[in-house]
């Protein structure tokens, strides 16, 4: 699989243009519905890009990203409703909580080769969802936590805020992915034994990148909680993780910007299927199988890459 270089002048201009276009779109069409769809799409973008930073670069697939998303959202909900803290506290605290979870799970599993990490993440997310239902006295059970205060009351302004966060997170992560750091992460994906032989503390790198990935997933979870104004155990479900993974695969794994495109594309596309909600998950799973078989490099990143280098390679 190809890996893609991070930012250069053309890519950054294109990214900025896309961001501006996305920001202006709801103003032009003045549709509240569109604002809602795009806000969700931007939040999915944050989740996808954070998944891609860890799993896309190092090749260690995280099947329990919903765990970080969920604990971030629940942390926001608890702080806001149980402890009555202002909504702005949610953002740092949810990041911190997700990071702690990442450390606890990453430390035992990322030292090992093989599928332990992927499976342990999957199990933990499943168990967390069950715990949310079992300890319903504290977590609200099936209903979750209701009546969370919005971060910014105006929907359009909140959308802009989320979009800005998405832009900053993407920029930060692509910069990291392009730095020496990202190079090492990519090298780990290529050949762990060689990296070890070169004296790199690969376990530290893997755990740290999981912690970073979890922090932004938790942040995205908090943003989601303050958008929906409620959290439910459904956030922990495996389908949340699979949705994010599908978006990354559509966008192109390991490219950082691709998954953002994948998230926007898929959220807007499947919006049409929202009326029959059950079929939506079916579509995602089928799409994932299809992409794994026929387009292992994804759609968005390769197309962009090809278009970018058309002029240079006659």
């Amino acid at each position: 699989m190809k890996t893609f270089k991070g930012l250069d002048a053309v890519s950054s201009w294109a990214g900025l243009a896309a961001l501006v276009l996305l920001a202006v779109m709801p103003v032009v069409f003045t549709s509240n519905y569109l604002v809602g769809v795009l806000t969700v799409a931007a939040i999915y973008g944050i989740w996808s890009v954070s998944w891609d930073f860890m799993s896309g670069l190092t090749g260690r697939e995280n099947f329990g990203h919903s765990l970080f998303i969920g604990v971030g959202a629940y942390a926001a909900g608890f702080l806001n409703v149980q402890f009555g803290l202002g909504p702005w506290w949610s953002l740092p605290v949810s990041m911190l909580v997700a990071m702690v979870f990442a450390l606890v799970l990453g430390f035992p599993t990322l030292r090992l080769k093989g599928p332990y990490f992927a499976l342990a993440m999957l199990s933990s997310a499943v168990i967390m969802q069950r715990l949310m239902l079992i300890f319903w006295e504290y977590t609200g059970g099936e209903e979750g936590i209701q009546d969370i205060t919005p971060l910014i009351a105006n929907h359009l302004h909140y959308y802009w805020f989320v979009l800005a966060v998405l832009g900053i997170v993407t920029l930060l992560l692509s910069w990291l992915a392009k730095s020496r750091w990202g190079l090492i992460l990519r090298a780990i994906r290529g050949d762990e034994a060689t990296c070890l032989a070169a004296g790199l503390p690969i376990t530290h790198y893997k755990i740290l990148s999981l912690v970073i990935s979890a922090a932004f997933a938790g942040l995205g979870g908090a943003l989601y909680a303050h958008y929906q104004l409620q959290v439910s155990p459904q956030l922990f479900a495996v389908v949340t993780s699979i949705t994010v993974i599908t978006m990354v695969y559509v966008g192109g794994m390991g490219s950082i910007y691709g998954p953002v495109g994948g998230a926007l594309l898929l959220t807007v596309m499947t919006e049409g299927l929202r009326d029959f909600g059950e079929w939506r998950l079916m579509v995602y799973s089928m799409l994932l199988i299809f992409i794994l078989f026929f387009l292992p490099n994804g759609i968005i990143a390769p197309v962009w890459h090809k278009w970018r280098h058309k002029g240079q390679q006659p």
Partner: protein, 283 residues
Amino acid sequence: MEILIYGAVTSAIYAMLAVGFTLIFGVARVLNLAHGSFYALGAYSAYVLTTLAGLPLWLAALLSIGLVAVFGILVEKILIRPQRESQLGVLMISLATALVVEQVLFLTFGSEYRNVPAFIDTKFNLWGVDVAGQRLLTLAVAVVAIGGLYAFIQFTRLGSAILAISQDPLAAKYMGIPSDRIFSLVMGISAGLAALAGVMAGPFLSVQPSMHLLPIVKAFAIVVVGGLGSIPGSIAAAFMLGYAETLVAYGISGSWTEIVSVLATLLMLVFRPAGLFGKRAAF
């Protein structure tokens, strides 16, 4: 006494699930996240064949096990085999398959619980404890099935071929063992065993579309504790986990049982990643 009997039944179900899961991993290096789906499909097809098609239960049970085994072989042949060179491809594809199965079940049967009929409805009194006959039968069936599988692997020619591949796939290939056909066979056995667990446990556990996830979590925990790829290890670990959960359920509260498996997994990975009976942690 109650703990002894109920723990044994829980352990027996876990053992049926974990043995199939570890078998296909040991032989084909395939970590099959669709393993729980075979369990769910077993329970559902027993439900369909008895309640809707009106077949006698024993015939329905045999048919469902056969059907699920065929389904497992098809999944292996069509979906998993092309991805086999990449461990993560296998994980992705089998998880996607599991979700497709879950959605199909959801769309056909809805999310409400279904009742699978029991083989025996009477209750037995064992040493002062009332136990449903179905639970005892499950225990007996599990012992017979796993014992049979063990004998098959140890004492037949085909069994030696399976063992040979799990020990050294390349050498086995050079000896003329048709590894692809063996993979299909093992996948069929593994899926059939999971379906058997579903048919037997269906009457006293909840049968609904998302029932496939918890078995995967349990099977993973057992396999980590017992050592990936080791059948005796996973049987022993199944009993340890089964009893540990039952003890926690009786001693503390039923709510905490779910944490046992995750805690066991994490502690095991920290202190002894190879598992109790595994030879190596990494591969």
